[in-house]
Symmetry: C2
Subunit: 376 residues, 2 copies
């Protein structure tokens, strides 16, 4: 209990204190990262300095400098990704980026049980993005951040800002309490379809807050395990969309899988097709081979692209996922494992490069064609 101000002891109090000594069993001294850093072993001090505090704000250390490219921090100070001019110089202008889809950061509100605060935070992010970014560079497009854990509030937010021409997709984190194909989320897809917006799943927040533990085997110990598990959670969402019949219920819905890699999709598509042969009687609403739903409804972004033992295998697996229709370039700027267009992929044949670096995204997001853009 608290009193509103410190009491001045009276002589009588003094006497009574002396008579009745007190033991208090719960007094909080501060013991934050700054205080305890000198007491940590050196390698953890170094990791905290390099990667940030790990927690709170996340469960694991990240990579790079606080999870960002070292050179993405503005020279005059401030956080990476906070300075439009630097982003233009370092990325948009430098690499002739005709359009850039902003995906924001810090999806933590998508993992809180406080639905209303989550919704308010999403609205604030969307308003800030419109005012501070979309209005200042005509190449930029926005993603509607939604409180995905409460689908009706999420649909309201999509209706609120999703009709704008400069908002081109809805975005959620990979971590979830239920896979995204679950009918629980249907109000979100009704709104996506209403506004013709793709639904984009971006890695992050796996196992945090109210989201399910990050793997089918529970919580993992190291950041690298989280990274290796992200394709698995993405795979659960994809299987859910297909086997729950979400694409049958919403025939125009498009889904984007972001930042969980690419090549793991090939064995998953084979497995889904194979299992479907033996078990399709249990899900009669799934009317096509799972890989056909993928090809028609799902798009995948490049970063971080997988490395293979040889180029032939890389090409064969890209072919297996119909990369010419499904793969879209992305940089992940300004995060530490940023891929410039020059580093993102091994050299592709011109026709495939056109699809991956421009056409697939232009078609999905309704942007001008490459030909029109080149003419300027």
């Amino acid at each position: 209990m608290q009193t509103s101000q410190a009491e001045t002891p009276s002589p009588a109090d003094k006497k009574s204190k002396a008579k009745r000594p007190i033991i208090d069993c719960d007094i909080h001294q501060i013991s934050g990262l700054e205080e305890i850093k000198p007491y940590l072993p050196r390698h953890y001090r170094e990791m905290v300095e390099a990667y940030g505090p790990a927690y709170p704000g996340g469960m694991h250390f990240n990579g790079g400098v606080g999870g960002r490219m070292a050179d993405a921090y503005p020279e005059e100070g401030g956080r990476a990704g906070s300075d439009l001019a630097l982003m233009q110089r370092q990325h948009l202008d430098r690499y002739n980026v005709a359009y850039g889809i902003l995906t924001g950061e810090g999806y933590g509100m998508q993992a809180t049980i406080n639905y209303d605060y989550a919704a308010a935070t999403c609205s604030a992010i969307n308003d800030y993005t419109i005012e501070h970014w979309l209005s200042r560079d005509s190449r930029l497009r926005g993603s509607v951040m939604i409180p995905k854990q409460e689908p009706r509030l999420a649909a309201k937010e999509i209706d609120r800002v999703g009709g704008r021409a400069d908002m081109v997709q809805v975005i959620v984190c990979n971590g979830a309490t239920l896979p995204y194909g679950n009918r629980y989320y249907d109000p979100i897809y009704e709104a996506c379809v209403r506004h013709n917006l793709p639904f984009t799943i971006h890695v992050g927040l796996e196992g945090e807050g109210i989201n399910s533990p990050p793997t089918g085997a529970g919580y993992v110990t190291n950041y690298i395990e989280t990274r290796c598990a992200r394709p698995s959670t993405m795979a659960a969402h994809l299987a859910s969309f297909i086997f729950e019949g979400t694409f049958e219920r919403f025939p125009t819905l498009r889904v984007v899988l972001q930042e969980a890699g690419v090549l793991w999709l090939a064995p998953l598509l084979w497995k889904m097709d194979q299992e479907w042969k033996g078990l399709r009687v249990q899900t009669p609403w799934v009317r096509k081979r799972p890989s056909e739903y993928f090809r028609e409804h799902v798009r995948v972004t490049t970063q971080p692209i997988d490395e293979t033992p040889n180029r032939a295998l890389f090409d064969a697996l890209l072919d297996s996922i119909h990369a010419d229709e499904t793969l879209m370039y992305c940089s992940d700027y300004p995060h530490w494992d940023y891929d410039s267009p020059k580093q993102a992929l091994p050299r592709l044949a011109d026709a495939l490069a056109d699809r991956v670096y421009y056409d697939n995204a232009a078609e999905l997001y309704g942007l001008p064609t490459r030909e029109k853009e080149a003419k300027g």
Copy 2:
């Protein structure tokens, strides 16, 4: 509350009852599957008849006939897998199986919080297996079932029966509360190494009982989603063994991955090697490339083998996982998706077939060489 016997109403009671009518708000009528079946829609009646009750005893429908091959049920009645003579006729004799590793079934005790009952059940299974199976056919070898959720009790069970020559591995289900590389399980690996027993992870019990939800996105709706998610949970265990440094702490430990497919391992190994390059400073105890630990410490069984769009891709991916050293044939008899040695794989080159169908397992389990066995 209960009284030990029904009370005979006295005239006084009768009067008081009439005065004070009673409402009881919780009386349980029986409403089991047999009672409600006529009230279920026809397709669910058919599914229950084909696949079994789905729950209790599991969360999902299975395949085949109650999860088993239709022709594995003994003609004289009884359950599939219950009749040694039928197993011999149908599988062991027919396909010249020199050694068969029994893996049991019903790993449900590995998902209960009642540690002591779990341990007692495991002991009972092991004793039954020794008495009823291993002693009756010299080709058979057993797996030590353990209460994996309480590692010290598990180690006791390994010490109790794991020294026997006819017990050749320790076995656990894929579903878990923590990934198996977590140091929490170290007492189990100390016991495995003490008795030179591989640690085998067999699919099952994902998301059931105290095990973590079956995907990083929570619970899935359909059985086929569970099957598609099993590689993911297996992947989490594998990453955990490698990045927790379990193989550094237990240099002679061998791990077997069972019934989650095979080819998904290739992209995972590439990803682990790739991520390790950028993040190895965070796990300095991981001294080799992750794929090297896999090759040295991990073995994988064939069933259910993945199908690829073409043979070249199949061979390239087998090559990527060093199948000549890591892949071992298994049938999954008498489960519904059983693979006889003739169906298990596309035709392999003789040298590779020798490794996959015999040598890799003989070396792992310390069985006589193929040459010795052929001389007989």
